[in-house]
Structure formats: structure tokens, C-alpha cells
């Protein structure tokens, strides 16, 4: 099949960007979307042009490196699918495809489709963990975990930190990402001692970054390639509220997601 691509090109954060049109001829339906871009890039290089920069690593939907908007939808809009897992059989001959980076003040563009998502790391660094140093753990079976709790924790822990939730949200909120980490740890007994401090710290850092607030629109859940449910945000809000009452230093905080 033959496609026409419109790709966001931007030299660096200081330069202005624009959409550039490229022909993508002879696309095979078994290619992944990124393999299709590889072929387009090879053509650009052969003609002395600069290839389109995009992030990718594992190419099997688990590292969270890849992600951009395809026709205005994060990762292209197929259920539980990152762009590296999106195959060209979902497109038709003659399609025009619009490709843009995540758009969010908290994710500044570095080049073309590559954005800076380090705000996510800073959220984790400020509380998205259990404080346990190496060597101090009791036997793995010392603490029984209800099977359902382990499953719910795993559902939330499946987040790959790709940033699609932020890109999809009209408010550019990171509530699904932050809520997922909090839910992962709050469903488990290991996460209980720091549960309140954690929710305060994570929400505080989320608000310090340039993410917007959550207004329960649900675009994040609809585009999340790992199917993280919206309920993690409700759980974050509930924990945040309780923590704000119980932990005094919370006074300086604005509302949670």
C-alpha cells in the first residue's frame, strides 16, 4: 500500500517546528508502524536528508520508549497497543497519516517526535517506592498477600511510563501515571507503612511539574496501552484526602488529581 505521511519536524527545543509531507510507498501490511518509519527514514538518508527522530527501544510494547500521536490519537488508538506494536494491516492504501509528538508543557519537545518525560522520573524519585534498603527484607513468604490484591497491584504496576495518558488528556494531567504507581503499592501490605506520605509526596511532585489537574474525562484510560483503569485516580484522590487530614505537613498542598 502507498501512504502519505505528515510528520512533525522540529530541530530542537529552541526552534519552531512544522508538519512536513512525505510519501511512504510500498508499505507491507506485516510491518510495524516503526518499521514503516524505518523504511521512510532510509529513503530520507539516501536522499541526503535527516531521518525523523523518534524514540524506540524494545519494540515489543514493554519499555515505554516509543509513543507519538497518530491522527490525533496517542499510539494510534488500538486497544492495549503501543506504536511499536501497531501493525500496518490497520491502514489502507491511500491513507493520509498525521504524526506528532506528545503535546504537553511538562514534556518539552527535544527533536521531531522525541519529548522529555523526565518529570515522570521525578515523581517516582519523590515517593513512588517502598523505603527498603538491600538486605533488610524478611522471608518472601513472611507476609501473605491476598491473591486478588496481588492481581490488582499487578494491574496498576503494568504501567510502562510512556506518557500517552498525559498526551491524551485535554488537561495534560499525569493522574493516571501517578495513580497507577500509588495503587500498585497501596494494594500491597509492603506499601502500607508509607501509604499516606507516599500519596502526599507523589501528588506534590505531580503538581510541581507542569501537568494539569484531572477532571475525570477518561481519555487516559481509553488510550493507555496497558489498560490501566481510571479507578487508580479515584484511589489516589481518596488516599490523598485521608492523608491530608492525618498528616499535618499537607497544608501547603493543592488538591490531588
Amino acid at each position: 500500500m502507498n501512504l502519505t505521511l505528515h510528520v512533525w519536524r522540529q530541530k530542537d527545543n529552541a526552534s519552531a517546528g512544522r508538519m512536513v509531507r512525505y510519501a511512504a510507498p510500498g508499505v507491507n501490511e506485516h510491518m510495524s508502524f516503526l518499521e514503516m518509519l524505518d523504511v521512510v527514514n532510509e529513503g530520507l538518508i539516501d536522499r541526503g536528508g535527516e531521518p525523523v527522530a523518534f524514540e524506540h527501544d524494545c519494540r515489543e510494547g514493554i519499555c515505554g520508549s516509543c509513543g507519538f500521536m497518530i491522527n490525533g490519537v496517542a499510539h494510534g488508538g488500538y486497544k492495549n497497543t503501543t506504536v511499536c506494536q501497531l501493525h500496518m494491516r490497520h491502514f489502507q492504501d491511500g491513507d493520509e497519516v498525521w504524526i506528532e509528538p506528545w503535546r504537553s508543557a511538562a514534556f518539552p519537545v527535544i527533536k521531531d517526535l522525541v519529548v522529555d518525560r523526565s518529570a515522570f522520573d521525578r515523581i517516582i524519585a519523590n515517593g513512588g517506592f517502598v523505603s527498603i534498603s538491600t538486605g533488610s527484607a524478611p522471608d518472601g513468604n513472611a507476609l501473605p498477600v491476598r491473591k486478588m490484591d496481588a492481581e490488582l497491584a499487578m494491574d496498576a504496576a503494568a504501567c510502562i511510563g510512556c506518557g500517552a495518558c498525559v498526551a491524551a488528556c485535554p488537561n495534560a494531567s499525569a493522574a493516571l501515571f501517578a495513580g497507577a504507581k500509588l495503587a500498585h503499592l497501596s494494594h500491597l501490605p509492603q506499601g502500607q507503612p508509607e501509604r499516606h506520605e507516599r500519596s502526599l509526596a507523589v501528588v506534590r511532585q505531580m503538581n510541581r511539574e507542569l501537568f494539569g489537574a484531572c477532571t475525570n474525562i477518561g481519555e487516559c484510560e481509553a488510550t493507555c496501552p496497558k489498560g490501566i483503569p481510571l479507578e487508580v485516580i479515584a484511589r489516589m484522590n481518596a488516599d490523598f484526602l485521608q492523608a491530608s487530614w492525618r498528616e499535618r505537613p499537607a497544608a501547603d498542598l493543592v488538591a490531588a488529581g
Binding site: 524494545c58 519499555c63 518472601g140 501473605p144 503499592l185
Partner: protein, 637 residues
């Protein structure tokens, strides 16, 4: 160079204790005065960086990805082994040790493997403590499954995302230390050279991938945890960014390379679909617990799998290896698949595939039970192939997956350059000639959480280190060398893209140094790689400049190193005149086609020392002694 592996003596169960007791300790108040560079943020790197920071060392950690959470450990699916014996099925530290030595086809050190098995139990405790959501039984206890090559259930797992969850545990421990100011993280930063001063590793030179800035970092010790080099084959299950650059450039600075030719070909990957293919996707071998592998008995049978009656199917692993069947170790299962396909029984495009069929298991356990165990893997498969494995058998074929070779390290995980430590897949250490399933995660975390933090303390406490900074003339020279190499790559202005060179190298490696190797093929392969390397430096076409993000430039540096490493792999494979584990030389096989080891001449580690460009490296050997597990012909029949 004299090799001293610093092997401990005495009864094997006491060796690690004894070694730890003999190690010098750094006074807790002095630890912050020592600085350590950790390159790589996967299981080994993140766990080492976090643990050293917890102990008080000043740590700087580097990764080329945008976040330490992206490291390729994240893609491991199946699980992590530990000798907990929670299932009461006869497992023990000794049995895990025994299985690993045997599985590695008697080409690993007993002392290292025993330590790995001992530490495995602590790893599970640590990860559970961090909140890794391992699978649980209804009573709340940890669940286990058996995994490729093991007859006990000792594998802990978090659905099909065990690597992801373990990495997130280590990443969160690392981020905690970053938040506390104990670790300085350098994401999007690639190590491009090692600084050796006064015979000791004292720093690295890096490139900031966003600004293009070349920087020098000086420290008291350097830790490389940069993963494996399977991408020398271009097509592999590794992430696209996985590369050999850090360890290769350390090799060029004098760190010896152990067993470079030991490559693991994983039996269960999704077959290649076309020329544009950029990587191969692994289907966790946990699928082999319930899936049955077969091919049509008739050659070139093109009927749909459902149309082929039971008695016209060859369940070849069950036939050839009745006691292990579909759970035979990876090297054996891969070679068997290659053999049936070479004989014309393969299925799918080009006949390069075999069926992995779940219909029996679905009939026996129900589709729900299968979905609970493998749901996400089935989804991955369907997304890629467009076929539903609940109704049509999967098609699989072997692919390059892991490299057992790597920089040579002693028992302390120190390379032949004092002060340079190497962890995880980047070192050669614990898996011998073949790694068992669910053992890579174990080794990465063992090295990072529980081995390096002790051994590096011994090094720092017993070494007098000169005070230095990045203005030292030799450090300046290394820095300048990196700048020159970058300019050189950009100035070639030839005709071929970097990926066309990488693809061609991969094809040469697969054809000459792949699943079945011959002396003749390897010699020819090495020569062709040398020619291709010569063309690379003459005809590479890189666009853009070195001043900002330039992904082609990053890849070019890595491919330049792969073009040297590939040749060394061929040379090493040609000189190992035996078959063992993943290294199969067609000249050396038993009458029924199994690997034929030569313990008399090759019961050793091949240790290669760099001698300069266009000079053949020197091959030394480290003899291996087996006091506990007596080498036998591996039999899974």
C-alpha cells in the same frame, strides 16, 4: 597478562561466607568519600547503584535511554529462579547450583554458580519487600512454576512481565536514592570510552545524546552493567539500543573478553516476516509448560494445522527427549527446531517455523486457565501476526537472545583492569555455554544487590588511589580521542546508511557464527566481516552533525564496535574445537547429533586480550575445575 580469578577455597557452601569475611571493609563514615560510576541502569546497574548509595558511596549512574526504567531487563517475560523450595518438590541451593552448572554444559565456574544459587533466595525476599507483585496462591503465598530445563518449580513470576516488575523494583530503589541526592543520574548519556590511569579504571568519557557534548567523569571505580551484545546479529530479541560499545571500548583499553562466541539462541520467537524486519519478538518459554511443539511428518505439508491429523504430526521434542520433552533446555530445543526445518518439515513462510500448540492444554484446563497463565503473551502474538493462538497454533522459530560471553571477571566481578567491575549480562561469568531460563534476572540482581556492594568495598579499602581530576593529560587524551572518532564518523560522507551495514553484518553472523558453525564457515565469516568493516569506514553515509540529537550517529558508533566484535566471535568460535551448550560446531557432534564436548582440551574459559587494531588478539585460558558436579554428556533423553 596474568589471570587471577581469586577463586576461594574450602567447602563450596562456605566459600562466599569466607570470601566476604576476608574482604576489607570501608569505614561507614568514609564511604561517601568514594565515588563510583555505574554505567547501565538495568537489573544489575540499578540494583548496584541503589545498593551502593544505600551503603553511603557517592554514585553517578549513566544510561543511554531517556529514563533508567527503560533498560532492556524490562523485556524479560518468564520469571526468576530461586532455590526457596517453597513447593516442597526437592529443590535446594545445591540442586539449583547443579542444574546451572550442568545446563551451562560445564563451562562455568562452580564457585560462582554456587554463590548465585545461595544468593537467589535473598533476591526474592528483597524484591517482595520492594513491592514486586509476584504471582500468589489463594492462601497468599508466593506461586511458582517450572521453567525451561528444570524439573522443580522454582521460578517466581509476575504474569508475563517479570523483568518489568523486577526492574521497576530496582528502578524505584534507584530513584529513591536519586531523590535523596545519593545518586546523580545521567540519562540520555552514552559511555564512549574508559579512562585507565596508573593501570586502574578511573573514569569514563560520555556523550550527552541531546546536546552532543563530550564529557569526562573521574571516579574511584567504574562499574559496567551494560548488558549483552546479541544485536551483533542485527535481528535478535534484544531492544534496538542494546549494544556492545561500553564493554568493547573497555576491551580495547585492556579488559579481557571471556568466551565471546557463547551465544544463546532462544527456541520460541515469532518468525521473520519480511526484509524490513527490525527485531524479533520472543514468546516466553514458559509457554512450553503447556504448549506442545510439533511439525507435520510429511515434508512440505502446506495443510492448515487443524487439517493435519494427530498421527501425521511429529511432536519431535517429546519423541527425541522423552523425559524433558517440550521443556528441554534452550540450546537443545533450538537446534532441534533448526534440524526439522532444515529437513523440510518447517511451517509458515519460507518453512522457517514450527508449531507451538495449546489445544491439548485448553481442552485439559480450559481457555480461562490458559488465559490466566499466558493471556498477555497470546495478545502479543496476535497483535504481531494477526492470528489467534487460542484457535490456531503459534508459529515459532529460534532467534538470538542472550550472550553468555562478556568481559572476563574474577570472583569479585572485577575485570583484568583493576577498578573496573562488570555485572550482569555484560560479564561472562555464571552461565557457561548455555543459560537456563529465568537465570538472567537472577544473575543481574545477584551481582548488583548482593555481590558487587561487598567486593567493591574490598577494592576501595585495600587500594591507595591517587587524587585526580579530568584535567589529567591522559584523561584529556581519551576525551580528545572520542571527539575525533565522532568527527571521523561524520566526515566519511559515503553512500550507505548505517543500518544497511548493520543488516549485512547480522546476516554474516547468522550464516557463519549462528546455530551451527564450522571451522571453514567461521574463517570465511571473519574475513568477510573485516572487509565489511573496511567498507564501513570508507562508505558510511551519516547525515546531520554531532551537536545535537543524532540517532544515526549513535547507532554508527555501536555498529563500528559490532563490526570488530563480530570478527572476534568468529575467531573464538573457530578456535573452540568442540561443541558445548549454545556453541555447536558441526564437526564435533555425537552420532545422534548432540553437542560433543572436548573436556580434555577445552574445559576452560577462552580469555581474549586486545593487541591493537589489525592485530590478532591473544587467547589465554582459565582452566575450569569441577569438584562437585562431574562433567558428563548432558542428557535430556
Amino acid at each position: 597478562m596474568k589471570l587471577d580469578a581469586r577463586m576461594p577455597s574450602g567447602p563450596i557452601e562456605n566459600r562466599w561466607d569466607k570470601a566476604r569475611f576476608e574482604m576489607k571493609l570501608v569505614n561507614p563514615a568514609n564511604k561517601r568519600k568514594y565515588s563510583v560510576l555505574v554505567v547501565g541502569s538495568g537489573l544489575a546497574g540499578a540494583s548496584a547503584a541503589a545498593t551502593m548509595a544505600e551503603l553511603g558511596y557517592s554514585v553517578r549512574c549513566f544510561c543511554f535511554q531517556d529514563s533508567p526504567r527503560r533498560a532492556h531487563s524490562i523485556a524479560a517475560q518468564g520469571g526468576i529462579n530461586a532455590a526457596k523450595n517453597y513447593q516442597n518438590d526437592g529443590d535446594s541451593i545445591y540442586r539449583l547450583f547443579y542444574d546451572t552448572v550442568k545446563g551451562g554444559d560445564f563451562r562455568a565456574r562452580e564457585s560462582n554458580v554456587y554463590r548465585l544459587a545461595q544468593v537467589s533466595v535473598n533476591i526474592i525476599d528483597q524484591c517482595v519487600g520492594q513491592g514486586v507483585p509476584f504471582a500468589r496462591e489463594y492462601g497468599g503465598m508466593l506461586a511458582n512454576r517450572s521453567f525451561g530445563g528444570a524439573q522443580v518449580s522454582r521460578t517466581f513470576y509476575a504474569r508475563g512481565q517479570t523483568g518489568q516488575q523486577l526492574l521497576l523494583g530496582a528502578y524505584q530503589a534507584l530513584e529513591r536514592q536519586i531523590g535523596l541526592g545519593k545518586v546523580t543520574m545521567y540519562p540520555r548519556t552514552e559511555m564512549l570510552d574508559l579512562i585507565v590511569l596508573g593501570g586502574r579504571a578511573r573514569g569514563i568519557v560520555t556523550r550527552d545524546l541531546v546536546t552532543g557534548r563530550i564529557e569526562t567523569h573521574i571516579a574511584d571505580a567504574v562499574v559496567l552493567a551494560t548488558g549483552g551484545y546479541g544485536n551483533v546479529f542485527y535481528l535478535s530479541t534484544n531492544a534496538k539500543g542494546s549494544n556492545t560499545t561500553a564493554i568493547w571500548r573497555a576491551y580495547r583499553r585492556g579488559a579481557a573478553f571471556g568466551n565471546p562466541c557463547f551465544t544463546q539462541i532462544h527456541p520460541t520467537c515469532i518468525p521473520v516476516s519480511g526484509e524490513y524486519q527490525s527485531k524479533l519478538t520472543l514468546m516466553s518459554e514458559s509457554l512450553r509448560n503447556d504448549g506442545r511443539i510439533w511439525v507435520p511428518k510429511k515434508k512440505g505439508d502446506t495443510r492448515a494445522p487443524g487439517q493435519i491429523p494427530e498421527d501425521e504430526r511429529d511432536y519431535y521434542l517429546e519423541r527425541m527427549y522423552p523425559s524433558f520433552g517440550n521443556l528441554s533446555p534452550r540450546d537443545i530445543a533450538s537446534r532441534a527446531a533448526k534440524r526439522v526445518c532444515d529437513d523440510g518439515h518447517g511451517v509458515g513462510p519460507g518453512g522457517l517455523g514450527v508449531y507451538l500448540d495449546f489445544s491439548d492444554a485448553i481442552r485439559r484446563l480450559g481457555a480461562n486457565a490458559i488465559a490466566e497463565r499466558y493471556g498477555n503473551l497470546f495478545e502479543i502474538y496476535e497483535r504481531i501476526t494477526g492470528e489467534d493462538p487460542y484457535t490456531v497454533p503459534m508459529r515459532i522459530y529460534p532467534a538470538v537472545h542472550y550472550t553468555m560471553g562478556g568481559l572476563w571477571v574474577d570472583y569479585h566481578l572485577m575485570s583484568t583492569i583493576p577498578g573496573l567491575f562488570v555485572l550482569g549480562e555484560a560479564n561472562f561469568s555464571d552461565h557457561g555455554a548455555n543459560r537456563l531460563g529465568a537465570s538472567a534476572l537472577m544473575q543481574g540482581l545477584s551481582d548488583g544487590y548482593f555481590v558487587l556492594p561487598y567486593t567493591i568495598g574490598d577494592y576501595l579499602a585495600s587500594t591507595k588511589l591517587e587524587r585526580l581530576d579530568e584535567t589529567h593529560p591522559e584523561a584529556v587524551a581519551v576525551h580528545k580521542g572520542v571527539e575525533e572518532m565522532t568527527s571521523k564518523l561524520l566526515s566519511i560522507r559515503g553512500k550507505r546508511s548505517v543500518s544497511s551495514f548493520h543488516r549485512q553484518l547480522g546476516k554474516l553472523m547468522w550464516d557463519h557464527c549462528g546455530m551451527a558453525r564450522t571451522a571453514e564457515g567461521l574463517t570465511a565469516g571473519a574475513a568477510k566481516i573485516a572487509e565489511l568493516r573496511e567498507e564501513f569506514w570508507r562508505n558510511l553515509n551519516l547525515t546531520g552533525d554531532g551537536l545535537g540529537l543524532n540517532q544515526s550517529l549513535e547507532v554508527a558508533g555501536r555498529v563500528a564496535d559490532f563490526l570488530e566484535l563480530g570478527e572476534l566471535m568468529c575467531i573464538d568460535a573457530a578456535e573452540r574445537n568442540e561443541s558445548c551448550g549454545g556453541h555447536f560446531r558441526e564437526e564435533y557432534q555425537t552420532p545422534d547429533g548432540e553437542a560433543q564436548r572436548d573436556d580434555e582440551n577445552f574445559q576452560h574459559v577462552a580469555v581474549w586480550e586486545y593487541q591493537g587494531p589489525r592485530t590478532k588478539p591473544v587467547r589465554q585460558t582459565e582452566p575450569l575445575n569441577f569438584e562437585y558436579v562431574k562433567p558428563t554428556q548432558r542428557s535430556y533423553k
